[in-house]
Symmetry: C2
Subunit: 206 residues, 2 copies
């Protein structure tokens, strides 16, 4: 595509560097900003820069936070003997939305993935091991996605914790609530039978 | 959704104001920027602000341009007796890509749309009429989309030009090159028969 203006071309190029945004969408977004009052662009650019420059991660769980210790870690009502290991902040938000969990989190910042060049040293694993060895944590819940990368990461952390007396668990894999059995894949259905739970406890959960 | 940081919430909110970008996509884009080096955010924010602040429209055709007169209007090889009326800069780019048109353009900046509160005074119509009345333009080609708004805009401009001896035309509506007749809608197929062209001219076009 030929642009009539170098300024426009630059803006479209930068916008199209975002994931899932191609050149055409980028042009549409940029032209939309041009039709809006100038403040809109200033607010967008300003809020992105402010976030990038002043971003702060919780010193304990590595969640994004405006304070040194995030609201969850600083909350005395939370059970600090329980730590849920997640990939990124979106997972924290998803679990918080369920209102079912009262423990703390530990945000790894990714998964071990040799294909994408992400090794254990790129993730917040050392601080997790240190936290566990300090002895306050009784149980670690692995809540990574059940892909090869997720399983590898779980296993790597599990190995690092050998010799400690911590309990480890993973979130249950099974049929989604409301799903039909006939449409479930074999692996999930198989796991849901192997990991069946006493009927009494399923009544309590509802 | 509850965000763990006010800065993050602001950035996601501003991002989600863009058309077609919801809260979840906005969060994904913002987290992507956080994983990238700080320059990426600076480049994006900077290029958007620079475009918005230094944006300049061609004084003749209202296309976005870095110079007072855009490259197309300033090109002496272009036929200035022919003006193609389009809605926005994307249409100019689309027509330029065909390499079939050697005239000039006039960018209206939208279509008359009472539903969206866009009247003739919001578009670059006065300058078009003035340009035509100066006498250099011999033919006006309407290339707006064939919607009710597009037809209304065409007709409004046509009425404004009453009394001048200008020729007006619209781009041909018909079956796309390579399309099967059986899948074409009735209106398009009907128009393509009414506006049939001599076979000899269709041979020349290929």
């Amino acid at each position: 595509m030929e642009y009539s203006s170098k300024l426009l071309e630059n803006a479209v190029y930068e916008m199209s560097q975002l994931p899932g945004i191609g050149k055409r969408t980028a042009l549409r977004l940029v032209l939309h900003l041009l039709k809006q009052p100038e403040e809109r662009t200033a607010f967008l650019a300003g809020s992105l820069m402010k976030l990038r420059e002043e971003i702060n991660f919780c010193s304990s769980c590595h969640n994004i936070s405006d304070t040194a210790l995030c609201e969850i870690c600083a909350n005395p009502k939370r059970d600090e003997s329980l730590v849920c290991v997640v990939e990124d902040i979106r997972d924290v938000m998803a679990i918080e939305n369920t209102s079912q969990y009262q423990g703390l989190y530990h945000v790894l910042g990714g998964k071990i993935s040799p294909m994408e060049g992400v090794g254990p040293q790129d993730l917040n694993i050392v601080s997790l091991v240190t936290k566990v060895k300090m002895g306050k944590v009784k149980e670690l819940i692995f809540a990574l996605s059940s892909t090869m990368e997720g399983d590898t990461t779980n296993f790597y952390i599990y190995k690092q914790l050998e010799g400690t007396d911590i309990t480890t668990s993973t979130i249950a894999r099974g049929i989604s609530v409301g799903d039909e059995l006939e449409y479930a894949d074999e692996v999930t259905l198989g796991r849901s039978i192997l990991n069946r739970v006493p009927f009494e406890s399923s009544i309590k959960a509802n």
